[in-house]
Symmetry: C2
Subunit: 112 residues, 2 copies
DNA sequence: GAAAAAGGCAACCATTTAGCTGCCTAATTT
DNA sequence: AAATTAGGCAGCTAAATGGTTGCCTTTTTC
């Protein structure tokens, strides 16, 4: 098995697998915590749709939220992102060792 | 906007967002091309389920297939993986610059 | 040439997902 | 205290997802 890491990275990738959510992470990328209203303005989607996406990101650990007065502020979290990166780096490292055979697949047809 | 890369990385992440598919990529990680039958053995799932997953991976560019005689051989592809890695690295680099503010969010509450 | 192995195709089902609307509560603002 | 703003909660719908079974074609093998 490749990555014997403790958590299953699939939910993190699943959370990243949506344009709207990637855009939200992009907005939060400056480190500012933002309210749902702030994150919903300048989108075509409704506040509730954005709220759902934020919860998906939060369940995956990619953002954290904090209630402040009447608003809920969301901010990006490094940890889950780093898990995803570490996983992909592990896969990439494994594939590095076998590039020759992959090349052979393309040029000469599969050998396995 | 963060990554002005040509393709939308969301479909790649979506393809990675499933345990079964990550396991398939893991199996293909040694560079050997494998038939659907080979990839379906030792799974609890049916051949057809595995076939569907392989097509999801193929649509995302993470694997390539080649018909050889009566079998379809699948092999891992670097390109899509590298796109995903490059995207996450870009996000990570952006977040690096703002770690101080993220820290402040955790310790002192959000400031935005 | 018959049997077995590999796999494509289609239909079906249950669950999840992505979005909406409507309504209610809780803070702020005026 | 009334109006506004932020957002939670519930219910609904359409489409996508993950899985199944059944059947057919093609290629090997015996």
């Amino acid at each position: 098995m490749l990555n014997p890491s403790l958590r299953d990275p699939a939910p993190i990738f699943a959370a990243l697998g949506d344009r709207t959510r990637l855009a939200l992470l992009d907005k939060l990328g400056d480190g500012q915590a933002r309210s749902i209203a702030a994150l919903s303005s300048d989108t075509a989607l409704t506040r509730q749709a954005i709220t759902k996406h934020l919860h998906v990101l939060q369940d995956a650990g990619l953002v954290a939220s904090l209630r402040v007065g009447r608003e809920s502020r969301f901010a990006a979290r490094r940890e889950a992102l780093d898990e995803a990166r570490a996983y992909l780096d592990g896969v990439s490292r494994q594939w590095d060792d076998t590039l020759g055979r992959l090349k052979a697949f393309v040029e000469d047809g599969p050998t396995g």
